[in-house]
Amino acid sequence: MVDIDPESLPARCLVDTGVLIRSLGQFEDEHTQVCRAFFEQMIVKGQRMLVAAPSIAEMLRGQPQPLPRTKSLIPVAFDSRAAEVLGLEIPVAVLRSESSITGHSRTYLKYDAMIVACAKRWGATCIVALDGDHRVLAKYVEMPVRHPREFLCKQIAISFDGETQGE
């Protein structure tokens, strides 16, 4: 059982593919519970979760279906404004440098860079992701990357004399 602190939730974030697949599918691992709790609490609170078009592409592995149109989960396009963010703020020199540091191919990094550019272009205040790869590029657009567990309720320690102490 995991409890999300509703007050800690971002008003508008971009949710990465790994978080979404765990929130929507049957997949179970040590991250699934917190991903689902985060996803459901965002909906309950009416906050905005953006899904980048490249993430939608990663998720599509079955029968083509029209995307649902709902209030909280909003697919966002890699459009001309996102392309400007990518070209100006994460230019090829950045991808070349990060490729040499991380060992990822530039093609691989471009895909992640498109997702990060969507986050910036569509006004997300953070990217919610499990994998740290986004952090490498998100720093260039000054976009924080947060794990869903960062939105869990803070644990309360209860001392033997019955007084509660915040951690």
Partner: protein
Amino acid sequence: MSSARPSPSPLSVELHGDFGGKDVAPDNFDVVHAMNYVSALLDLLSALADKQQEPLSLQGMTLAPGSVVFDIDVEQPSTARRLVTQAGELVAGRTLAPRGLRARVTRVRESVSQLGPGVRSVVKVGRHKTVIAPPNIDTNARTQEEVELRARVFRVGGSPPRVWAITDVDGEFRAELDHRLAADIAGYLYQEVDLVATIERTDEGRIVDATVHRFFPLDETEDEAEVWRRWFALAGSGWEDIEDIEAELDRNIEKAI
């Protein structure tokens, strides 16, 4: 024996080109944007010098007559030449901005772009010239594209019919549409819908012209999580047997994130 202080050389920041239909000149250039650009550029040069532990003294400035040239006195012309070249490469995106300088590079890019679509800047130190220009993307051209926008409708009407709507990121805009669409969309006044539209933006991203071709109301009748889970059960059915999502996505889970 006293060593004489070298007389300062000018580092000239020149603005050339077309400004509002005329050649850019001292009596017509945009003072606020020009000063903002010069300030951003000098700030970047100073930060570059600091980072490389090079002395760079920029003191005194005159606006040279007859053209838009800001002459800044520099006591280390050879250092200035090298740094100006580096600044040109950084602003153009040909080299990677080191940590601590990225915001400054972005500020120069933005401020030089704001000088106007026909204006370009050349920085001279002696006979050495460097063009300061952002990466080769024409952000000043108006772009037309077909987009889908989540927007709240707040007015519909007129002849020819129009819809007024507001988005979270792109602000308010007005769009043309046909009578049938206008009548349909009027039923969603003060609600959010997804608009499919051809739009034209200013260089600042403001939507100045739009035509709506279709719209989709949001599904608010059902549990949102369940709507998406049903979609994924079909559209993402290929993920069912995957045991390691991150390996499949070619990503790395960072334990310490």
